[in-house]
């Protein structure tokens, strides 16, 4: 957070229609500053101006797009500005960047009411470690006891306390029996490829794999190493799981 004292003010001039990889330059710059944790930035649209190309851009001419001048301003510490400059130079394209020395007399504050409440201030639990990812490739039409196989698998994983599973639907694919699975607008019954991605400890997954043998008639199951980084309010989520089960 920016503190009172000497700082740098950066002003960037671009045209409203300037693009950076298909996106407006100014919004790309703003996104960049936001996600780099800059304390604040403002975008101001001019009503007229000209730049290096000596074209006068003004609202007076009746056209739909005028490429009006845009000014992006932000104030940050000298170190931070130095860190941001190389990427800004790239983002600004043909525009202009200037830096001024400035003094922050009073730093901006967040409203007291918007400060985190004591409960929310509890940092989320960050857990890192080694785990396994199990990927199960099956077909959407595969059944287990008259129930869609992927649904039965999810239920069975939940019952076996597997940490989590996500189902992905493919658009095209083939597997062991060489039959193409595809999503076709002309077919009423879709048989798209389905991927279930499950992450948990190796022990839990190995213990669960006999279940797979009894349920999966055709498909592919692979296991790979993953590094997990999770954020969770542990006690809350575990309580919720217990409740929903009881």
């Amino acid at each position: 957070m920016l503190k009172a004292g000497p700082a740098k003010k950066v002003v960037i001039y671009v045209g409203e229609d300037h693009k950076y990889h298909g996106q407006s330059s100014y919004s790309a710059i703003l996104d960049f500053l936001f996600y780099k944790g800059v304390s604040g930035a403002s975008v101001v649209r001019g009503i007229a101006g000209f730049g290096a190309d000596h074209h006068l851009h003004t609202t007076r001419i009746e056209r739909l797009t005028e490429d009006l001048p845009i000014k992006v301003e932000f104030i940050e510490s000298a170190d931070k500005v130095k860190d941001l400059l190389p990427k800004l130079q790239e983002l600004v394209g043909t525009g202009l960047i200037e830096i001024q020395d400035t003094t922050v007399v009073k730093a901006a504050e967040t409203e007291p009411s918007k400060r985190k409440s004591p409960a929310a201030a509890l940092p989320p639990l960050k857990r890192e470690g080694k785990a396994k990812m199990m990927q199960i490739f099956i077909g959407e039409n595969d059944k287990w006891r008259d129930k869609p196989l992927y649904k039965a698998l999810i239920e069975s994983m939940r019952a076996n306390d597997i940490a989590g599973v996500t189902v992905y639907q493919g658009i095209l694919g083939y597997g062991a029996n060489r039959r193409i699975h595809r999503d076709s607008a002309l077919h009423l019954s879709h048989d798209r490829p389905i991927l279930l991605s499950v992450i948990d400890t190796e022990e839990k997954l190995r213990a669960f794999s006999p279940m797979l043998d009894s349920m999966i008639q055709q498909g592919l199951v692979v296991l790979s190493d993953v590094d997990i980084i999770t954020y969770a309010h542990d006690f809350e989520t575990s309580d919720r799981r217990k409740e929903s089960r009881s």
């Binding site: 298909g22 996106q23 990927q135 493919g170 083939y174 055709q218 592919l220 199951v221």
Partner: protein, 115 residues
């Protein structure tokens, strides 16, 4: 076909509009995999993403032509995957190809179960 133990997973990321000789690239890749007798290939469509060109690929409700991000996942032995790579080098103009280690737990099909 049998597949067990240590294997490789190849993932190819590119765009839905990418073409190879006027055909959708993802179809060409799946056909090539089948031709090379690779164990399986699956194409997934992403909802949003960006890649090497940093263009945001975002399917738009109102536009019929959207360049959604696609991912093809191919699993087979290292040897088979290596056979596929030279073709991908030629066909994938702009995209990302990544290989990782996997362990095959199960690879079954109904015919195999019955016999």
């Amino acid at each position: 076909m049998k597949l067990e133990g240590r294997a490789k997973m190849l993932r190819i990321h590119f765009g839905e509009d990418d073409k190879w000789e006027d055909k959708p690239l993802y179809r060409v890749i799946v056909e090539k995999c089948r031709e090379l007798d690779i164990a399986g290939a699956t194409v997934f469509r992403g909802t949003e993403g960006y890649g090497a060109s940093t263009l945001i690929r975002r399917p738009h409700l109102l536009s019929f032509s959207h360049d959604a991000p696609l991912m093809v996942s191919v699993i087979d032995s290292e040897e088979k995957i290596q056979k596929l790579l030279p073709f991908l080098d030629r066909m994938v103009g702009e995209g990302l190809i990544a290989i990782s280690d996997v362990e095959v737990i199960k690879y079954v099909h109904q015919e195999g179960v019955r016999s």
